[in-house]
Symmetry: D4
Subunit: 205 residues, 8 copies
């Protein structure tokens, strides 16, 4: 793979035969993990019938061949509400497939601070935190103030009206009063997991 980064195929818009062909080629070209993101169950089944050894996670909509060996890095994936679940599932499944230990903390939106405060120790125990939140994305600011490790914020396209399909959460996270947060694209659990993976490249050897 280019620069040691894992091979990850973007599933949407590709036919079963195309995905199978790309995966087969990648499996032959190197020895690391091969992932396909955003694959619906039906497609996943057909691809797995063509390329042996693949596992499918329906919540994450992720296909994985040859998951990576575990590394010494725990990433906590924390969500604000129910609707953020699928994006968090993608983040956690991709991170796991790349060898990170993952802990998922659900539904700790800031309208009830006790929930996020109850999770603070778990968040502080992790080596990094991925915050998945839609609407106004305030959870990222609160988590950013609770931990001193890297925080990767993923805005989600949940909500309606002024939520602007995730743009509001994106902008809010970028202007967070919690210093040193970083942000990835709307709904990109994939991007957050890769950012967490990069954290492990220099420091976990």
């Amino acid at each position: 793979a280019r620069q040691g980064l894992p091979e990850i195929v973007y599933g949407p818009g590709k036919r079963v035969s195309e995905i199978a062909g790309i995966v087969t080629a990648l499996l032959g070209r190197n020895t690391g993990p091969v992932l396909v993101t955003r694959v619906e169950p039906g497609t996943a089944g057909e691809v797995r019938a063509l390329v042996a050894g693949g596992a499918y996670d329906p919540d994450a909509r992720l296909l994985v061949w040859r998951p990576a060996r575990p590394v010494e890095h725990t990433v906590a994936v924390v969500t604000a509400g129910t609707a953020d679940g699928p994006v968090a599932a993608e983040a956690a499944a991709v991170a796991s497939a790349l060898g990170l230990r993952t802990v998922v903390v659900r539904d700790v939106g800031v309208a009830g601070l006790h929930r996020v405060l109850a999770a603070a120790d778990d968040l502080r125990a992790a080596d990094s935190v991925i915050v998945v939140a839609g609407m106004e994305g305030a959870l990222a600011s609160v988590v950013g103030g609770l931990v001193e490790t890297p925080v990767i914020a993923v805005p989600t396209s949940t909500g309606y009206g002024a939520a602007l399909e995730g743009v509001t959460a994106l902008l809010a996270m970028l202007t967070s009063c919690a210093a040193g947060l970083t942000v990835v694209n709307i709904d990109s659990g994939f991007g957050a997991a890769l950012a967490a993976y990069r954290l492990t490249r220099r420091t976990c050897r």
Copy 2:
């Protein structure tokens, strides 16, 4: 005044003589308070020289004649950071001039939750809360979850880049996960104070 609402003049773009003329006319037309907002100190001095009885608050940039009798309603004005100060000052001064008791709680931005948690009792003791916050405006969501009384959120144009001159805070407050928040225009301490004043019209007699 129309519908019992107080007479409030918007200062910018009006000459000293115009302001003095309007204030004089309003003082003669009824017996309630007359306010002029967003007046610079120099202008304020000149207007006061022309129309007796006016008081000027330089932090709030507010001119007041005949402040209202106190009503039984305490509004807490809470800010996220230093830069939100002038807007909060306008909100507090207008509310005071209209007869509300005001309590100001400063700099409790959510990146340090202990500060807002320390203020929770004060906020809960008030009859309503005005939250003044820029950047991502997350303080409004947190306060909205801490109190059950009316919360009026004022986005401010502080910050840079993705803060988009207050639009990000505005959108974030409108999509807050804390239910039943209401929002007024960017930087409108005035609007928030009037909204608080309306709260007193039916229920504080």
Copy 3:
């Protein structure tokens, strides 16, 4: 419930079994009302079959268990046009379930002023007013000038082209020349009802 606020579940994206599970848990955890918003009739029927005691309002798409005792607060819900009906129904039904007395005034858009003027006495008699309007949202400004009590404006996503799915009405309401209006998210009858509910927490005891 957190801070005395009622428990309200957001229906979209949740399966029948999930909704039933959450409602059952909430009914057991405290003694107040439990609501589920934006539920389609089919889903509502299935949930009610699983959790006894629920009532369904198809216009408001609202499920209610244990509606609150009445409080001494009348909220008027006023709409500009036919298309604003469903949002107004949600506002009125949620407010009713939370114990407020509701009066609905329909189709008084400002292109025919006689209609809103005819309703002025009803609006003034209420303790607060929720204005539901799309397109240019001018009704909020007119109502804001007619009453001195709290006005909560709900922009709706009706209209086409320059209506920008409710963004135009939202912006217009935020810059209204009627002082002290407050605004909630586009199409959020729910948010307006909760804001009205907050009005009753301190002043109606």
Copy 4:
């Protein structure tokens, strides 16, 4: 002039000598009115010193040579608030210079309906109405419902925050619930006057 339309020069960005040269050329090329818009007083004085016969209106910032003969058409120019004054002055002065009779009705913003209702007869007596309003621009909707003649709405860049420098008023006027309104560019008193002038070309002979 092209298609019988009057010759109107846009002043900003042109030097005194350029303006004088263009005006002189236009005065020689035909016999109708020649106007220069958005000219500051200093520049106006210098141009008039170079090209005889010009009149200057400082409120409208308009230079006029050879105003047109009166036509049988009265246009009412109505404003919502003080800040809309300069745009209304431009509209009225350009319309007058092109021969229309103009009536100006000031400060009838809809937060106090009695003012616009008091003006209704004057507005209905006119052959067309230019509505100049900023912020949420609701006055255009109300006037559009009061008269059956052509209504030309001019959004202004007054206000702050969510007023978005006139864009909110523009969008609101375009989606007005009052049918058959037409709209011109933000702050374009000039454009509205020309639109009114076009009304007179076929019907006032």
Copy 5:
């Protein structure tokens, strides 16, 4: 009808029985035309079965009862391209139902100037012109320079990408270098026809 304006019902979102009820009520309340816009053929047939005397134009998707007596005013409706056809049909049909004579000139987009130049005499012969154009909307500027009568520009949501569903054409028409154009909402053939109708109220008696 309010202020002499005709009664026009907006069809989308209304059930057959609702439309029939409203139309019946309006037919009884006064003696002028009653129109329903944006009605699909199936709905139209069912409504006509319930309320006698209605005519349906499938291109315009318009239902009409009691069309108005002809007035002495010809409006030319001109389109840039094929895709602008349905909006032009709505404009022409509504204008006709309100008594205006209509002339339709099709497909004279400015990429081939000979076509619009060939139509110039027809456009100049009309009392007013409605220009229907999407994409960059340049046809409005060209027509505005060809005629001296009122020009009402209707941006359409045709095109893709940077056309932004009609917003580009809308903005372009508002900033047209042809003076005195007026603009209505995106795709609002209805709005343009009503604007043309207003032209006839004072001047065609």
Copy 6:
């Protein structure tokens, strides 16, 4: 220079000594032209005092050392209005310095079609056309239909309100109904000249 493209320095934000240093270095590194764009007269004088052989064009705000040998390619630079002049001057001066023959056609905005039609033969005689236009940018569409050679459209930030500082012209040019237009950044006379220069690299040897 990289890939045979000329060396062009962007002036704003650089001190006189920095510009002089960069130019001196570039003059030594190869033998082609060296240009500095957007230089104010005072700065230009000081730089020329430090680096011999430079020429300055104040209309284009361009500094040139070692202009290129002429190539066999004529580019016509055409503007819609007076305000587009400086951008056109930059385009023409940069193109000339790079060896192209340039013809400038001014003020042929489409509100008076006779002007652009009168220029049609000049435009067709050129090997390429740069169209500089602000506001609605309709001139690009008209020119694109008049010539069959490459057309490079430069939107300018002239106009106000809905012109959105050039964004409207930019979007309009991108959606032009004249096929095969290409567009560069707002106000980028420089970018258009470089695009014209690229036209000569393969075909003018």
Copy 7:
């Protein structure tokens, strides 16, 4: 055809009979190529059954009658990723039908620079380059620095979230640090091909 440009019909929204009628008319009016873009396979088959001699390219969704004679100009069409394929296919097929020689270079996105560097010689050998890229569109900047011939950038609507349906790639290409790039509308393979065709009009005789 107008100004020697080929006749190209935009397929969407036209019925089979309409397309067939237009094509037949165009074939009779002149002797050059006739194209119809964005035609689905079913429609294409029916049109070809009505108008003899047409060829259909399903990847490009293009119908062609009487393709042009080859000219001495090679255009390279280069894509960043798999999802850009259909737009590139349209560009290549339209260019071929107009007589240009086309070379397609696929999937050389800049996250793996070796791929685009490996293609550099092919790109430099062409007379012009069309770059098709979505997401951040960085490939256009890299290619613009590799070749000195005309570069036409086509942003595509691939990606999600902050990709904003192609607007991000569009803006990025317009502000590219590679000088002299030109840009066409989002997803407009058609527009890029026509721009390439214009390159051949003066210089390939």
Copy 8:
């Protein structure tokens, strides 16, 4: 300091006495570094006269008291062009004050790939990379493909027109085809440095 994060004061809008007071308080409250960002030279001098021991970096506009002990982490700060310099200086100076080793690589914009390729070894040798780039921000994508360590992208507000004051670079970086990039606010060298600092909290002990 909260959660072990360093104390950093935002300078703009604060008076000399306010800054001095805050710094003095923070120096007394704990033992770590105290920084003030975005301070102009004059203000910096006055503050340093009031609070001993401070150092000022005029390029970074940064005041520092008690810089942190070095940690074992090298961050490379890489810029695309000259205009990105001040933001890079802020990033580097804040990172240094927090104890990170910093390497600055300047002006390797992708229009000349040889420059960034020449720097590839330096970038790969670092533990993390901060990419500072404006305009289209393509450098972030290229660097993201060259290294496998964490990449923090800072969009800058350089450029004009379609650069939209940094919004284009921001959006482009968020949609980068290089997987696992993270992004901070426009012009926020400060935010990038803090994000790099967070990288050191768990892994460099």
